[in-house]
Every structure is written in C-alpha cells, then in structure tokens.
C-alpha cells in the first residue's frame, strides 16, 4: 500500500535521499525484524513531508542528536500527533546523517487493518517496554511522549504547561544506558484548539479524549483541521543518567523532574522568542 503511495506521489528527492541513507540493520530483502522497509517508508515519508511543510517548522539544535541509541523526549500538544510527525520528519530530513526516529504506537493501532501495516513498514512499533528495550539495544532512536494523552489532549487554559511525565522512559534510559534528548515543540498547541474535553464522546468512541474547538459551532467539523501555525522545534543537549533502573519511584522521579524542567525551560524560551503564532 505504501509502495503504491510512494509511486503515486510526485518525486521528492529530499525524502528519497534521506530514506536511502538511513543506517539500519536490515536483511537481504531490505526488511528489519519489526517490518521497516525503505521503499515502503518513502510513501509515508513523502506524505509526512507535505504535512511538515504545512507547518513550516524552524528546527534548532538538531546537531544535538547523538549517534546510536537515543530517547527523543518532546512535550506533547495539539490534540493530534502532528508534533510527533514534525519531530520525526526533522530527524529524518535535517539530521546529518538522517535518523529514523521510531514512534511507539498505541496498542490499539496494531489491531487495525492497514494501519498496523503502514506503521510497521514506516518504522513505528507497538509501544511495549520490551520492544522499546530491544530497539534501544539495537542502537535505534525512539520518540517518547512521557506526558502521554494527558499532554496532547489538554485544553487551552493549560497550553504549554507540561503535564506530569511517566517514569517508564527514565527506567528504560537507565537500564539501556541511553541518553535522553529533550525537545521543545512550540506552535503545535495552537494548531487544533480545544476548550473542552467531551468525556461522553471519548467514552463512546474509546478514545483517550475528545477535543471541542471554540469555533466548532461556527465551522462544524472543519474546526478539526489543523491551523497552519508555524512550529518551532528545539533539540536540547543530550542528558546522561546513571543509577539503578529498578530504584524506588522517588529516586526515578528526581531524574524525570530534571528532564521535565529542561523541556519546560526550552518551551518557555521558545515562546519568548516567538513573534507570532503564524510567523
């Protein structure tokens, strides 16, 4: 399916060159054990490049992405995971050499026809701690949103306030001796606005939240189309942590706090520097 998409979409030499130069362990037919394949990935990456250009991101500090295993840890916002898409695309197109940053998909996705296939071929894997550990031990880069749905689904009154981070990523970082690269995404928060979480609807459809944009009564479902805000993405210097991965929660929390504070600081700095939501 993705191969067909790659053939239908116009040539994109930037994407093709980036995907072709990914340094990944693959078998003779070009697949890795999780199902990634460059030719299929090009379809997804070309499509992602359109969305990437829609948000016209300004990328800072991409050179902070170290070679080898790394956990990329951004703030999460904007209702739909465009922030993840923009961060991953930046790592693919702007990093030297290009990096495939693997997304950790919700468990639900792997049960869905076609979606599970698209995810696997383009490098995402089931968000399971063992998968994560196996990937890091194989020196992959992984994208983690420790805020989870708490971050992406938050309403306008809490914009750019980081929600509590989970501890899982820190335990993995300690266990696999993986550096953490803090990332701040500014601009995603305004792409889809939400003033209310319609809990009844989210319960009905089995989603973690259901955003209600303020202009929903005026424009109807069009309110769910993301606005062309400009994204500012800042990659911070890698943070290295030492200690026992199975330590008490309190000890892990202290380390998590350091990452959270760093990300919040970078988000605040990005907001100060930003002149307008769209410029």
């Amino acid at each position: 399916m993705l191969k067909t998409l790659a053939a239908i979409l116009p040539d994109d030499p930037v994407v093709e060159h980036a995907v072709d130069s990914l340094e990944l362990e693959r078998n003779a037919l070009g697949y890795d054990a999780w199902g990634f394949h460059a030719e299929h990935c090009k379809g997804a990456a070309k499509l992602a490049h359109y969305i990437y250009r829609y948000f016209r991101p300004r990328i800072h500090g991409i050179e902070n992405l170290p070679p080898g295993r790394v956990l990329v840890v951004p703030n999460h916002s904007g209702q739909l995971p465009f922030d993840g898409l923009v961060v991953a695309t930046a790592c693919m197109l702007e990093a030297k050499p290009p990096r495939l940053v693997r997304g950790m998909a919700e468990r639900w996705f792997s049960t869905l026809p076609y979606v599970s296939e698209v995810f696997a071929r383009s490098g995402s894997v089931l968000g399971d701690p063992v998968n994560c550990r196996n990937l890091l031990e194989a020196d992959n880069a992984i994208l983690v949103f420790p805020e989870g749905a708490r971050g992406s689904g938050k309403t306008w009154d809490r914009r750019y306030q980081l929600q509590p981070f989970g501890r899982g990523f820190m335990r993995l970082a300690l266990e696999t001796h993986t550096p953490v690269v803090p990332v701040a995404v500014v601009g995603a928060e305004e792409s889809i606005l939400s003033v209310h979480d319609a809990k009844l609807l989210s319960k009905l459809f089995g989603t973690p939240y259901w955003p209600v944009p303020p202009h929903l009564p005026m424009v109807g479902l069009l309110a769910y189309l993301p606005l062309p805000t400009r994204f500012h993405v800042t990659f911070g210097e890698p943070m290295h942590f030492e200690g026992r991965w199975d330590d008490e929660d309190q000890a892990i929390d202290e380390k998590v706090r350091l990452v959270m504070d760093r990300v919040q600081g970078m988000v605040d700095e990005g907001l100060r520097r930003r002149k307008s939501v769209f410029a």
Partner: protein, 311 residues
C-alpha cells in the same frame, strides 16, 4: 564395541528420516518409532530398527528396554489437526510424559524435545523479538493448541527437575522444505495463497536442512535449556507468497477463520490458529541458541521458500 543407540520418534515424518541418516553417519544405531504406518526400510539408513508403537502404550517401553538408547530425539509431536483432540492429547501429552518417564527410568543421557513456536501465539500485542522467557499466549484464543503447550511445559519441567538427564527443548519457527509435509509447507504449495486483507506481519521460516543441523548440534552437545530456532530472517507474509510464485488471494481474516473452522471438521487442512500467524506478528529470537551451540542457518530466505514449493 556396541554402537550408541539413538531413539527417534516421528520416524514416518520427513524431518525424522533425514535426522536418522545424519545420526547413522555419526555412528549411531538408530531406532525409529512412530504411531503411524512406518516408512519403507529402504528410505532409512541400513541397520535402522523400525518399531510401530503408540507413545502412550506399553509398546514404547519395550523399545526402551530392548535397545537402551542413550540419546532420545522426541520429534514426533502431532501437530496435525486431522487427529482428534483426544488423540492428540494422548499422543502429545500422555505420550510425552511416558517418553520422559522412560528416559529417566532407563538412564537416557540426553533428551531432545521438538516443540514449536506456535505456542507463543501470533498476537497484535506481541513485542519483537520473542525470547524463550516470554508468555505462551496461543491458548487464550485457540484452546485446541493446549496439548502442544502442555507437551512443552512438561519437557521444560523435566529439564529442571531431573538434572541427571540432559534435556533440551527446541521451539522452531515454521519448518518448511521439500521433504516436509506439515500444514505450512502444504499451504505454501497451493496454486493461490491467501493473504489477510489489511495485515501483513513478519513471518519466519526455517529450512529443514537448517533445523536438522540444529537438532544434530544439540544431539552432539552437552548444554541444556529451552531454545527458539529461527531461520535466516523475518519477512512479510506477502513477500513469502510472492517468492512461491503463487498468486496472492486477499481474504478478510474473519472469512478465513470461519472457513477453516468449518473445513477442519471434515478435512485435514490448515489449523485455524495458523491464520493468526499470517495476520499478526510472532517473531522469535534464536540468539541464545546460536550462542550456546554455535549454530547458524545456512539456507537463505529465497531458497527456503523456493525449495519448499519445488520452484
């Protein structure tokens, strides 16, 4: 000096026959046992003793008493759903227990049990790769695989409870090859092979030659344990089907399950649980096996598929 005796179960199967040849070449006197009709003696190495016996009846004890094997390769797990559940339970579970009990009673030095990776189950929640310590999920959706899980559990118990005998349990991925007649090999040989609409998981195939070399590595070694055995690398099911030269038939998985549930009542066909293995991933790691026995598969992915279908 008397030759060492190797008892091989499932001798009527394609795999055991080839293992018998290799053991003969290594100086063993091979005693082949099967509950099914025995193969012709000419297909087996000269001097092979063939016995038709149920694994759960007294006949099998006579074999142990008469031949006193030092090496037992229990390759005769019944995976074929043509056999009724009760019969498979008797052969696999009770028969498996009987064979281990006899191994202990007659002082067998080394026991190798050929289990299967099917017991892990193919599931959308599987991580990649699956190691020997991971849970066996298959039974949750397909209780008819319970006999294979019990056979494996019993062998693993034996391994740890009776250190006087060296026990090894092998869990190979899909075994295929020109001499193999199991469900997966027959499935690949069809003129048109189904793919599940919207799903294309990574699958692993191990060529019979590689599995035989794995079994021989275990037979000749001293290490014990439970080990996965995989082939060269994992491929999407659609790529495997393309390699067979057969046409792909996209089928909704619900239709495939329903068809096989009904068809399995009348004919020997693909076990319904196998459909899950072409719908969801079950990619195993055999790193521990490679490290322990210095084994590596030799047959590449393309030859593995092509030789199976005779292309």
């Amino acid at each position: 000096m008397d030759r060492e005796v190797a008892l091989v179960t499932g001798i009527a199967g394609g795999l055991a026959g080839q293992v018998a040849h290799a053991l003969h070449d290594r100086g063993y006197h091979v005693v082949g046992v099967d509950y099914r009709a025995l193969p012709s003696a000419s297909a087996l190495p000269e001097g092979t003793t063939l016995v038709r016996a149920h694994y759960n009846k007294t006949g099998i004890e006579d074999v142990f008493r008469r031949h006193r094997p030092s090496l037992v390769l229990h390759l005769g797990r019944v995976g074929n759903l043509k056999e009724q559940l009760e019969k498979r339970f008797e052969l696999n579970v009770i028969g498996g227990q009987k064979i281990t009990a006899l191994c202990l009673k007659y002082g067998v030095r080394r026991l190798v049990v050929l289990s299967t990776f099917h017991i892990y189950g193919a599931d959308p929640m599987n991580h990649t790769p699956i190691s020997e310590d991971d849970p066996l999920r298959a039974g949750t959706e397909f209780p008819e695989i319970a006999d294979a899980i019990q056979l494996d559990n019993h062998a693993v118990n034996t391994l740890y409870r009776y250190p006087q005998m060296q026990t090894v349990v092998l869990r190979p991925c899909n075994v295929v090859g020109p001499g193999i007649q199991n469900a997966m090999s027959r499935f690949l040989r069809q003129p048109r092979v189904p793919v599940m609409m919207g799903f294309d998981p990574m699958v692993q195939l191990v060529h019979e030659r590689d599995l035989i070399s794995a079994i021989l590595a275990v037979a000749g070694g001293t290490a014990i344990g439970v080990f996965n055995v995989a082939g060269k690398s994992a491929l999407p099911w659609s790529a495997v089907v393309d390699m067979t030269g057969a046409g792909r038939v996209p089928v909704p998985s619900s239709v495939a399950f329903a068809y096989l549930r009904v068809a399995s009542l009348f004919t020997s066909t693909l076990p319904p649980y196998l459909v899950n293995f072409i719908k969801h991933p079950c990619v195993i790691s055999d790193e521990a096996f490679r490290r322990t026995f210095g084994w590596a598969p030799q047959v590449d992915e393309v030859e593995t598929v092509r030789s199976t279908v005779g292309g």
